[in-house]
């Protein structure tokens, strides 16, 4: 009979403490894997999402705020820029495409963003990928009160082809701020796994002319999304807007701005990693405790095994294997914890940002975290293993001991 089988037998004999200890290992494994995978996946997802643009031009503010607002549709819009600013950047020889966006309205919490049809047509939001409208829909006519709804927003709001709605004023939903204008949904976008999925797109003029908006809104836009003819134009425009100018901010490149955000919140990562690490240590300690507590009743079993010819080393290995088996069981359950955390995080992230994580993606942490925990548990098993090693056979063979 193998030592493994002996270890599993003894785990079954102490089923309750095995289950509880494995659970604490599962929690540690799940947390460790989830914290690392969410951070890395989120960073990869966010830094790759740029909706197909290289830069954002907006009113003077932080680059991060501009990017969060114009690309991710998070955060408030800093201030507006003039139509002339838009025309200027549009005519710049380094600019391939300049798309103005106007924000300030919502429909039940989902942003209503005014733009030009070029935002959604003939433009790649990621290499080789274009926005597509679900049949029988089409893009909005820029002169009419028509809307194209992102897939996630459409699903959450129950908007389909032909639905009619009144936008609400402001980026946050308030029942009393309903606009009088009524829009009709003429298209629902196929999912793109980008922030566009949670936006309701309407013609630029619609936002600019919406009743109740300030009169100067008619000649202003919130930001301009820019695709360059080549990376060399980025620094030139940086020089123009950020260094020489004082009115506008040129957020370029978009990915680097998001990396900057992640760098700013590394302390949060570290806290999470620290918590996961502490849980791992507590879990390993609970492995020690649970096996150590059973050592009194095991002493006789160990003496019997020794009398049958088992060496000291063998009974010590038996105990370490048991610790390893508890950890292995825990790690297996840890994948369920990981899945649960990732699924819920991915759902929240998609609802909040439109960015999609893949909870099933493989990640190196899924290998090293369980292996580390198993190693840590083996170490934790050494304490009772030493006790097993030292067990006196003659003294413990009789039941009175």
């Amino acid at each position: 009979m193998s030592l493994w089988r002996m270890a599993l037998k003894s785990l079954r004999q102490h089923a309750l403490s095995t289950a509880i200890t494995s659970l604490s290992i599962a929690l540690a494994a799940g947390l460790l894997m989830a914290v690392t995978a969410v951070r890395e996946q989120a960073q990869a997802a966010f830094t790759h999402v740029n909706s197909g643009f290289d830069a954002v031009l907006g009113a003077r503010s932080s680059k991060l705020q501009l990017v969060l607002n114009a690309i991710f549709h998070l955060e408030a819009s800093p201030a507006n820029i003039t139509w002339a600013d838009y025309q200027e950047i549009q005519k710049h020889p380094g600019v391939a495409l300049a798309v103005p966006i106007a924000m300030g309205d919502n429909y039940r919490g989902y942003r209503v963003v005014g733009t030009i049809p070029e935002m959604l047509a003939g433009h790649e939001y990621a290499p080789g990928r274009h926005y597509a409208v679900r049949p029988p829909g089409r893009l909005f006519d820029p002169t009419l009160r028509e809307a194209v709804v992102g897939s996630f927003a459409a699903r959450k709001l129950g908007l389909t082809y032909g639905s009619r709605f009144h936008p609400y004023h402001g980026l946050n939903f308030a029942e009393e701020h309903q606009h009088e204008e009524e829009y009709v949904v003429v298209g629902v976008l196929e999912p793109s796994n980008t922030p566009a999925d949670k936006v309701i797109w309407i013609p630029l003029e619609g936002v600019q002319q919406m009743g109740g908006h300030a009169t100067n809104a008619a000649t202003e836009v919130s930001a301009v999304l820019v695709r360059l003819n080549g990376p060399t134009f980025g620094p030139a425009l940086d020089q123009l807007y950020n260094k020489k100018g004082t009115r506008l901010t040129w957020a370029w490149p978009i990915g680097a701005t998001i990396v900057d955000l992640f760098n700013r919140i590394t302390w949060f990562d570290r806290v999470l990693a620290l918590v996961a690490g502490l849980v791992a240590i507590v879990a390993a300690a609970s492995v020690t405790a649970s096996i150590y507590n059973s050592m009194n009743e095991r002493r006789r079993q160990i003496a019997i095994l020794r009398a049958l010819g088992a060496r000291r080393r063998t009974v010590a290995s038996w105990i370490v294997l048991e610790a390893v088996a508890i950890a292995a069981l825990g790690c297996a359950a840890g994948f369920a914890v990981y899945g649960a955390i990732l699924l819920s995080t991915a759902a929240v992230l998609q609802a909040q940002t439109g960015v999609v994580l893949d909870p099933w993606a493989l990640h190196p942490v899924m290998g090293w975290a369980p292996l580390s925990l198993i190693g840590l548990s083996a170490l934790a098993g050494l304490v009772p293993a030493v006790k097993a090693y030292r067990t006196d056979v003659a003294e413990n063979l009789a039941p009175s001991h």
Partner: protein, 198 residues
């Protein structure tokens, strides 16, 4: 002791009968003197070698059976083979059949009577085809009926398996069944005078 011999060792409680068996088995190391087992000097061996010798050459039957509660009858016998030449399921099953426990292979010790538990222990002791079986008061925890049955099985199966038997008891009925009965009190004196060999 000669090959396949069956010897009983008598002695009052506290005289050191169990210690004597532990010394032979190499569980305890003798302070002085020489014990030979199957041509090897147990007293000269290091602990791991004594463990190996015990696993391969000795069977041990205890007064308190000493079965592992988490293991079935069959597994307890297989466990007796684990540290020796290796598990042989067929032999383990055959031994339990011989002990009249063919229908109890997958029962746990707690599901068996004392007599049945001791028979499992006998099967375990014989599992590795030992040269010598040490039996320490094997009937001490059994009632009269089971006691006779256990003793008969121990003697018969040791003979069938070509194992010598050294049985320790202070029960006159048990001792009476052996043609060779040594008194530990006397043996102890003899050992102190000259080297003994086993």
């Amino acid at each position: 002791m000669a090959d396949k011999a069956q010897v009983a060792l008598s002695g009052a409680s506290g005289l050191g009968k169990t210690t004597f068996l532990h010394l032979i088995a190499g569980i305890l190391k003798a302070d002085s003197g020489v014990i030979r087992l199957d041509g090897q000097e147990v007293t000269a061996l290091a602990e791991p070698e004594r463990d190996r010798l015990r696993a391969g050459t000795l069977g041990y039957i205890f007064q308190t059976f000493n079965l592992l509660p988490a293991f079935t009858c069959l597994e307890n016998v297989l466990l007796g083979m684990t540290f020796g030449p290796g598990a042989d399921r067929g032999r383990a099953e055959a031994l339990l059949q011989r002990m009249g426990l063919g229908d109890r292979l997958r029962h746990y010790p707690r599901q068996l009577s004392s007599g049945q538990q001791q028979r499992v222990a006998v099967a375990r002791a014989l599992a590795n085809r030992p040269k010598l079986v040490l039996a320490d008061e094997p009937t001490g925890n059994l009632d009269a009926a089971s006691s006779g049955e256990a003793l008969r099985l121990i003697r018969e199966t040791c003979a069938e398996n070509q194992a010598a038997l050294l049985l320790v008891s202070h029960d006159r009925d048990v001792l009476g069944q052996f043609s060779t009965v040594l008194e530990l009190a006397k043996l102890n004196r003899a050992v102190s005078l000259e080297e003994s060999s086993l």
